[in-house]
């Protein structure tokens, strides 16, 4: 029973982590990219271009 409880906790924590990750990324707060090549240019640090300019 204890074994199942531990597994449930781990799976629950993983679910919360993924949910939080998705939530933060859609709000532009998670870095998202996993590569150092971004060199700090990840979305969390990026200045959104001015609304007057866009792409």
């Amino acid at each position: 029973m204890l074994e199942y409880l531990i597994v449930a906790c781990i799976v629950g924590a993983a679910s919360i982590y993924i949910g939080r990750y998705i939530w933060r990324m859609t709000r532009g707060k998670a870095s998202g990219c996993g590569c150092g090549a971004s060199g700090g240019a990840c979305p969390k640090n990026a200045t959104p271009p001015s609304s007057q300019t866009g792409a």
């Binding site: 597994v7 799976v11 993983a14 982590y17 532009g28 971004s38 001015s50 300019t53």
Partner: protein, 728 residues
């Protein structure tokens, strides 16, 4: 707290100075456009603490591209959520003074206190330039500090000057405007006109901004004012521009002539050039590396050798990581009693996350090679060589830097498109940049190539088929991107091909610190990602593939095992029969799991690609981040347990896996179709979010995702069916 801005032309070493002053380690590279974002750091000198802003480079205050807009907005105090800066640290490439001083003349017309930093003094000396810094300071009306940032020479004097700047000890009068009276009158009239619209614009427009507005016909400044004050102001602007024309020459041309006259006068006072100009080492190297034929061949050769090296050199390190992960798995299995928790730890975490970590050596090697190419200055040459190819599809070499940046990661690649002036070219580049094979695709390629492509030696053993195959997979993205960009340009972004002007930086010996930081950052992020997101997804995939774990299946197989034990008397035959039953039981559990049931629903969609439900499910699970597939395959195929104890690695597991009728599941056509699918599919939520942030519309990430997914499916289908026909 005061804020000082680092400003100057692109690729003059602003970020190197920023890192030296703040102790941070922002990315640097020996090509224009590395910094497309403002970055903030803190500088301390004794009691002085000041914020330093590292800004993207620009050639003038006439902003055209989004990265230049960030610079001009910060300097003119128009950047939202950013206080106006209190001073400028102007960085100049000492070996290229004439061009740099054009922008300096514009900057010094502002009333901001400034320090002028002469960087790359070593190259200037090598070229025989003698710069009288005192005379230059007198001409510019600001202190001039000679340094060599990458060798960390002259930094104490720079720190002292920055501290004085921060303390407000360095004041100066703005350079008098170089424009003659007729243009000054036009600027005054412009200030008056904008004053009439101050309510709509929301502020009084300063004289410097009014001048930029007058000069930059159709530029960013004009669009912004027209949006706020209404289109009615545009004819008024045209009238004032007409007023500023002299002999039919527009103000922009006059400004360039006047400023370059000033630059030449400053040069005459402060710089002594060698009598005869010797061709520099970089120019001599460029004769070969940018040669129409040899340059392209060398570029191709460099890429082939790079991927061959990634493949060959990482072998021992991968074996080491594999052994360590195998040892961890065995240790966990010996410590944790058999059951659900052991399955989670061994089949889920160790098999999944361990399967990803094993690719760390290759990721490090790839990032090392990219960092070396960036730092030595070869990237700009590669862009130059690709200009002809890209011009075929209506893009220019300007798009190549974002595309080649995407080989490491699509996110900085998408951000790097900020250097592209034209909106339509920028959007076309954003749409094709994620097709470049980023480092996250590397594990997928390596695992498939290692398992199913023979290591046949080529060119007398110099190369082998596996390394060449890896190179070809990296080419898939480029080969597809070029015609696609042409289609996008024809369909959505019609227009003339933009001119391409690229500064060729001098070749430099890559700096150990800069390269080391890039490799370290890449490796750290890969490990962190494996330990967080990939780990979490692996746990969920394991849970979905383990449960409901119906008891009746276990009971049925227990009964069968008991029967076999009674019927079979030969110990070897009994062991084989029990192993067969164990394998069947694991497969039965997996097929009846939640993931198994889902997989069988989606399996028909992926059958034409030669995939079974496990590959299909792993692919679907990896849509948030493509490297998840390795972990998911590790978990799914380990739970299936179709391997004996002597073949613990994922590669062996995949080789041993079969369809229910016993046919091998993974064949060369299946491996090729998986690689092609992953090469072309947009399985990266972070990239899509970045596209949304950069374009300010959801339309573009949706288009990206849709076209790439459809393209990946069709290409994988064609690859599978075609290679099946060819290979029989």
């Amino acid at each position: 707290m005061k804020t000082l801005a680092l400003v100057g032309n692109p690729n003059v070493g602003k970020t190197a100075v920023f890192n030296a002053l703040t102790g941070l380690s922002q990315n640097t590279g020996n090509y224009a456009g590395v910094t497309v974002e403002r970055k903030r750091g803190r500088f301390h000198a004794g009691a002085v603490t000041v914020d330093i802003l590292d800004l993207p480079g620009a050639y003038s205050l006439s902003a055209r591209s989004p990265d230049e807009i960030i610079l001009s907005d910060v300097l003119l105090g128009q950047q939202a959520q950013e206080q106006p800066v209190d001073g400028m640290i102007i960085i100049i490439d000492a070996s290229n003074l004439e061009r740099n001083l054009f922008f300096v003349s514009q900057l010094l017309e502002t009333d901001l206190p400034a320090v002028v930093v002469l960087n790359m003094m070593d190259i200037a000396k090598r070229r025989g330039l003698v710069i009288d810094t005192a005379a230059l300071a007198e001409q510019l009306g600001a202190p001039v500090i000679p340094i060599c940032a990458h060798r960390r020479e002259g930094l104490p004097a720079l720190r002292e000057a920055v501290a004085q700047l921060a303390e407000g000890k360095l004041t100066r009068a703005p350079l008098p405007s170089a424009l003659p009276e007729v243009q000054q009158e036009a600027v005054t009239a412009m200030v008056a006109l904008l004053g009439e619209h101050a309510g709509a614009i929301g502020r009084q427009v300063p004289r410097l901004e009014a001048l930029r507005l007058l000069v930059d016909q159709g530029g960013y400044a004009e669009k912004r004012i027209a949006r706020r004050a209404g289109q009615a102001i545009v004819p008024e602007l045209a009238r004032l521009r007409q007023m500023a024309c002299v002999n039919g020459a527009p103000l922009a041309v006059q400004e360039a002539n006047i400023r370059y006259r000033w630059v030449r006068s400053v040069m005459d006072h402060a710089v002594r050039k060698p009598e005869s100009r010797l061709r520099s080492r970089s120019e001599r190297i460029d004769d070969v590396l940018t040669h129409k034929v040899f340059g392209s061949l060398i570029f191709l050769g460099v890429m082939v050798v790079l991927f061959q090296a990634i493949y060959s050199w990482s072998g021992p390190a991968m074996d080491l990581v594999d052994t360590v992960m195998g040892g961890i798995g065995e240790w966990v299995a010996s410590v944790v009693p058999e059951g659900v928790l052991q399955s989670l730890l061994v089949d889920g975490l160790v098999a999944g996350v361990g399967g990803v970590i094993i690719f760390l050596p290759q990721i490090l090697l790839l990032s090392l090679f990219i960092a070396l190419l960036e730092d030595c200055g070869y990237m700009a040459r590669a862009a130059f060589l690709m200009d002809k190819t890209l011009s075929w599809c209506g893009l220019s070499g300007q798009s190549f830097i974002p595309m080649i940046t995407s080989f490491a990661c699509a996110i900085p690649g998408v951000l790097a498109t900020r250097t592209i002036h034209h909106r339509r070219d920028r959007l076309a580049t954003i749409l094709v940049a994620p097709l470049m094979s980023c480092s996250a695709r590397l594990p997928v390629y390596v695992i498939m190539i290692s398992a199913f492509i023979p290591a046949k030696p080529l060119l007398g053993g110099l190369l082998n088929l596996q390394g060449v195959m890896l190179f070809l997979m990296y080419c898939v993205g480029v080969v597809v991107a070029v015609p696609l960009a042409w289609i996008f340009k024809k369909l959505f972004f019609r227009g003339v091909k933009p001119p391409f002007i690229l500064e060729m930086p001098s070749y430099k010996v890559p700096q150990v610190r800069s390269v080391g930081m890039k490799v370290y950052r890449e490796g750290k992020d890969f490990v962190v990602r494996a330990g967080t997101l990939i780990c979490a997804v692996t746990i969920i995939v394991w849970a979905l593939a383990y449960f409901p774990h119906a008891e009746e299946i276990g009971a049925r197989f227990d009964a069968e095992r008991a029967a076999v034990t009674v019927q079979v008397t030969d110990p070897a035959a009994l062991e084989e029969a029990l192993f067969e039953l164990d394998t069947q039981e694991s497969g039965e559990y997996l097929r009846n799991s939640f993931l198994g049931q889902f997989g069988h629903v989606v399996e028909p969609i992926f059958m034409p690609l030669g995939w079974d439900w496990r590959i299909a499910t792993a692919t679907i699970a990896s849509f948030p981040a493509r490297e998840i597939i390795v972990a998911t395959l590790g978990t799914l195929f380990n739970l299936g347990a179709e391997l004996d104890e002597t073949s613990p690695g994922l590669i062996d597991t995949l080789r041993a896996s079969t369809w229910p009728d016993g046919r091998p599941l993974f064949t060369i056509p299946v491996a090729l179709s998986i690689m092609v699918f992953f090469a072309l599919c947009c399985q990266c939520a972070a990239t899509l979010v970045t596209i949304r942030r950069e374009t300010l519309q959801w339309r573009w990430p949706i288009i990206s995702f849709t076209y790439m997914t459809v393209l990946a499916y069709v290409a994988a289908f064609v690859t599978y069916q075609g290679s099946k026909l060819l290979l029989g």
